[in-house]
């Protein structure tokens, strides 16, 4: 099976449990199980090539420009982890089916589990570190869902958040580290990176990369001081704990260290950081575990301790230690998963997992007792179980390790940890199963149905078999994996067997076992001392840190974003002015190279009008109607200026936009107050004026300097002028740029315009749905209204003009490609033609005759433009490539057709629809009952007489 498929299967399969849960819990579990089984089979058929030492690869260039390729590889290391993930995953799926209760949403559970499984498989099969990072983050996210699966439990939610914060934060550090690593080597492919040990270790960036990557690995693998999230994650259902915290997620960090071992290990920095962290973690974890009364907490801290053990072995940096690390990973996964499942069974059947309330379950739950005891003894490191073998190897390695010239420090502390480890393992057996039978269990404990004990039993069989026949069962696997870890070099001599003779490790094992028994015997006394000792509570510290961050971000947000918009505006303007000043004082400017154009009299008059109107707006802006009139003057002069300065298209657009904008603003002024009151103090106004004047001076000076100098770099306009006719088939270069050269931009812009119109529509709907509607219906207009609401002359004139206006629109549209005009302008002109009808005959009259919705017009416009663009694909051209040709139909003159005209049709429709929808929405505010008149040219004498009526009433 292709590696792509193995990695993709869990993701694909994740859909099914969520769907099949409607067919029952068995269906959902079977779907999840089948998916995992298929992936596992797909993995197993690669056994022959993996065992030969080959590397199976599957490559696919995803985003080559970024070096992000979907490359997968399967070597011994990846195979071992994939086997653990899928194999234990299968057992967990079986176990969870019987563990979860009827109230738990099982479909969700399996979906999350498969997502997590897929992410894990992705990590171990990735041959590209960027891809690996993606999967890495995915495991953080999906484990968040799994840990917080019992959403109703606050512990679950807190634990999930903590796990996400710690592992996700570590993941961020790792991203940085991996990017540094990729930059050193010049490739993001793992297989390339792994061959550049010397290059990486010689690089000055080796230390930062190492620390950042280790941060990711340590947080994920719960190494001290990041170990605190793991026990809190135990709020998850037991299958999740068994899966995430025995075989998979916490092993991801170990996997990463093993994966990077060939290039990162072997330096002093690696040894002191990794081995020390591992040693400390192993000791602290084992020590805390002994004093935990919650079965799962005990197992959690024991996991922390064992992860520390493996980390320490990897940190030693010797080949033989790496072999021991790999062997212990296998062993730990088997006995720890079985122990978690046993704990779950005890919890499930006895109703509690508090060790203080348990004991004497030996005869009540014989099967569970057997399974739990074997697994726990393996954890304690007793022969002939598999835990003994790898612990023995570990102790042997510590004896050969010197830490800062001290021969005794590492073995001594490791031995101490082994003593504690034996003690808590014995406690697991002694205080839960042995001892006198009690009669105050919350439930009546009994052995569970076979579905629950089958999975741990299978693992325990493995525990025993690996212990007895290690060389035969896992020998080849350990060899292949180890050689993958140490980078394909020759394996050192080692032998996986129970009896090595009277070695120091054997004595240490014996001491550990006896010491463990001794400690357990003194447990009550030890517990008193332990409880009396002051200990930092990680959760309190974590929450304190998070709380401090929250307070800090609240402070930033509340200070910067306090809702005073004029403050944001003034900060923005002042900052921009400051930037401009900085650029002005530090930059250089070339000499003037262009002659200014002469000033003619008519433009000068226009300038006076514009400046006068602008200043008047500033002065009279409290009178809103007057300032609207004045801004109309400004717009008009601007359009004339465009026309004068050789931009006929702009002039046409500006003047038609001007018309619709004015109508829009006038309509809105109908509802807004007519005057702006004095709000600001004189000092504030002077300050604002000063800032505005400086900004205006800067802008004016900038554009003045720009206009008198030639382009600093050759412009691309020449290309457009030269190719407009040859390539685009049109002589109006501006229009050809819009519909052809920069068609994609235009396509985006009509979509934006359409969205703006839809926002306006939605806002109208929302506002009219509230009590605003009542206010509007009872509103008194600002100004007295004319009784002649639809003047006869205007109605007649606009109706006569309608066809003419449409004709003008069509003409402007068709000539657009070769002469000033085009879809934008035509859309605006036709919109004005419609608006005239609204204004003259009234909103009600107009919408009664409206045959289509403006939403649809926008939609069709965008669709037609898109379809034109897609049409290019059928000619194997890129999106929006236009085509054109010439037709000669006698007696007409030869004319040109271009696909661009279809695109322009889309533009036309979108602009038309957007303008109409915007104004139509606004008009709905003005609607009042009784507006609909049978005769549009009616005269309503009541309205004229309103004033008189009021006077009469007052009288």
């Amino acid at each position: 099976m292709s590696l792509f498929l193995i990695a993709a299967l869990p993701f694909l399969g994740a859909v099914f449990p969520a769907l099949l849960i409607r067919a029952g819990r068995n269906a959902a579990a079977s779907a999840a199980g089948l998916t995992t089984f298929l992936a596992l089979m797909g993995l197993l058929i690669h056994i022959p090539s993996v065992m030969r030492g080959d590397v199976v690869t599957a490559r696919f260039d995803w985003i080559p420009a970024l070096g992000l390729n979907a490359n997968f590889m399967l070597d011994g290391l990846g195979f071992l982890f994939a086997l653990l993930i899928l194999g234990i995953g299968l057992l967990i799926i079986l176990y969870a089916r019987f563990y979860l209760s009827r109230e738990d949403p099982m479909g969700q559970f399996y979906t999350y589990l498969l997502l997590f499984q897929g992410a894990m498989v992705g990590i171990v099969l990735s041959d590209n570190i960027l891809l690996l990072l993606i999967f890495w983050e995915l495991t953080s996210l999906s484990s968040f869902l799994l840990i917080g699966y019992w959403k109703h439990l606050p512990e679950g939610r807190q634990g999930a958040r903590m796990a996400l914060a710690v592992t996700g934060g570590g993941g961020l550090a790792m991203i940085a580290g991996m990017l540094i690593l990729g930059n050193i080597v010049g490739s993001y492919d793992l297989s390339v990176i792994l061959q550049n040990k010397d290059l990486i270790q010689a690089s000055p960036y080796y230390m930062p990369a190492l620390i950042l990557i280790l941060l990711g690995a340590f947080t994920k693998s719960a190494q001290f001081p990041f170990h605190f999230w793991l026990p809190h994650a135990m709020a998850a259902p037991t299958p999740v704990s068994a899966y995430l915290h025995s075989a998979t997620m916490v092993k991801a960090g170990l996997f990463l260290m093993a994966r990077m071992w060939p290039v990162l290990a072997g330096t002093d920095a690696w040894f002191y950081i990794v081995a020390t962290t591992g040693l400390v973690t192993m000791l602290i974890g084992a020590c805390i575990a002994l004093f935990k009364d919650d079965l799962k907490a005990l197992l959690a801290f024991s996991t922390v301790s064992h992860l520390g053990l493996v980390t320490m072995l990897l940190g030693f940096g010797t080949k033989i230690a790496a072999v021991a690390a790999i062997f212990h990973i296998i062993n730990h996964a088997t006995f720890k998963a079985a122990l978690f499942m046993t704990a779950g069974i005890v919890d499930h059947e006895a109703g509690t997992r508090d060790i203080k309330r348990l004991g004497g379950l030996r005869q009540l739950m014989p099967i569970t007792f057997t399974i739990g005891t074997i697994a726990a003894l393996s954890m304690a490191g007793l022969p002939p179980l598999n835990g003994f073998l790898s612990k023995e190897m570990m102790l042997e390695e510590t004896v050969h390790t010197t830490w800062l010239h001290s021969h005794y420090l590492v073995p001594g502390l490791a031995l101490l940890a082994a003593v504690f480890s034996a003690a808590y393992s014995f406690r697991f057996v002694g205080h839960v199963f042995l001892g006198p039978q009690r009669d105050d269990y919350p439930h009546h404990p009994h052995d569970p149905p076979v579905g629950l004990w089958l999975a741990p039993a299978f693992l325990v069989v493995l525990v025993v078999l690996i212990g007895l026949y290690s060389a035969a069962i896992v020998g080849p696997l350990v060899a292949v994996v180890s050689s993958a870890v140490i980078g394909g070099e020759k394996l050192p001599y080692y032998s996986l067997k129970l009896w090595h003779g009277f070695t120091p490790a054997l004595y240490m094992s014996a001491v550990a076992t006896l010491g463990g028994l001794f400690l357990l015997a003194l447990h009550n006394r030890g517990e008193q001392i332990w409880n009396a000792l002051p200990r930092p509570e990680a959760k309190v510290i974590f929450e304190g840190v998070i709380g401090a961050f929250t307070t800090f971000s609240h402070w930033i947000t509340d200070t910067l974003h306090n809702g005073v918009i004029s403050r944001y505006a003034i900060i923005l303007v002042a900052f921009t002015v400051g930037l401009g000043y900085y650029a002005y004082t530090t930059g250089t400017i070339g000499p003037e190279t262009r002659e200014p154009l002469p000033i003619q009299i008519i433009p000068f008059i226009g300038w006076i009008c514009l400046v006068g109107a602008t200043l008047a707006i500033m002065w009279f802006h409290r009178n809103r109607l007057l300032s609207l009139v004045l801004i109309g003057v400004v717009g008009l002069i601007v359009s004339m200026a465009f026309n004068y300065l050789s931009a006929p298209d702009l002039a046409l657009t500006q003047i038609s936009v001007e018309v619709v904008t004015m109508i829009l603003l006038l309509l809105s002024l109908n509802f807004l107050p007519t005057d702006t009151p004095w709000d600001s103090s004189a000092a504030r106004r002077w300050r604002d004026a000063a800032i505005s004047v400086v900004a205006g001076l800067g802008t004016g000076a900038l554009i003045y300097a720009l206009m008198l100098r030639d382009f600093a770099f050759p412009t691309i306009s020449e290309f457009h002028l030269a190719n407009s006719y040859k390539g685009g088939g049109g002589t109006n270069v501006v229009n050809v740029i819009l519909v052809d050269f920069r068609g994609f931009d235009t396509f985006g812009e009509i979509i934006v315009l359409g969205i703006a119109a839809l926002i306006i529509f939605a806002l109208t709907e929302a506002v009219l749905g509230t009590n605003v509607r009542g206010y509007l219906l009872n509103r008194k207009p600002h100004w007295p209204q004319s009784g002649d609401s639809h003047p006869l002359m205007m109605v007649v004139a606009t109706r006569v003009m309608m066809p003419i206006a449409l004709m003008v629109g069509a003409y402007i549209f068709v000539r657009g490609h070769n002469q000033p005009g085009g879809g934008f302008i035509a859309g605006l002109v036709v919109a004005i033609a419609f608006l005239m009808q609204y204004m003259a005959s009234g909103y009600t009259w107009a919408i009664e005759r409206q045959r289509f919705y403006y939403h649809g017009t926008i939609g069709w416009g965008v669709l037609i433009a898109a379809a034109t663009g897609i049409g290019a694909w059928f000619n194997e051209r890129p999106f929006l490539t236009s085509d054109f040709g010439y037709l000669h139909w006698p007696p007409l003159e030869e004319f040109e057709w271009a696909t661009a005209i279809l695109f322009d049709t889309g533009v036309f429709l979108a602009v038309l629809g957007a303008v109409m929808l915007a104004l139509d929405s606004l008009s709905r505010f003005a609607w009042q009952p009784g507006m609909a008149q049978e005769f549009p040219m009616d005269i309503n004498p009541l309205r004229d007489d309103q004033k008189d009526d009021e006077e009469k009433e007052q009288a």
Binding site: H621, L645, L650, T653, L672, S692, L706
Partner: protein, 119 residues
């Protein structure tokens, strides 16, 4: 000519900024419109000014053309700015009709109320 265009751009910018620093919605809308004019003319003018040289190709004789690129950019900018004006007008209008208040700034009390609604 350049001096006229530049001074017009500067004055429109100044007036526009002064108006967007006011505290009511309507002057801010007017200010944004003025800034829109200023920015459009500014962008247009980056193509340098030319008289009687529209960018419409003449098949029959060799004539100078003005720079078409800024014109194309400004053309869409004009239309988009209409959409933007329409949206802010509608937001201002809805806000005014809902609260009978056309201040743009939230008061400290508003912030407290808003936070209360979120929680």
């Amino acid at each position: 000519m350049e001096a006229l265009v530049a001074s017009a751009v500067g004055i429109m910018t100044a007036a526009g900024i002064f108006l967007i620093l006011r505290r009511r919605t309507f002057p801010v809308i007017l200010g944004l419109s003025l800034i829109t004019y200023a920015v459009n003319v500014f962008l247009f003018a980056t193509g340098r000014l030319a008289l009687d040289a529209p960018a419409v190709l003449n098949k029959y004789e060799d004539v100078p053309y003005t720079d078409p690129l800024p014109q194309a950019l400004v053309l869409t900018a004009i239309v988009i700015s209409f959409g933007m004006t329409a949206v802010i007008v509608m937001i201002a209008l809805s806000a005014y009709l809902s609260s009978k208040d056309d201040h743009i700034d939230m008061t400290a009390q508003d912030c407290v109320d808003g936070a209360g609604e979120d929680a």
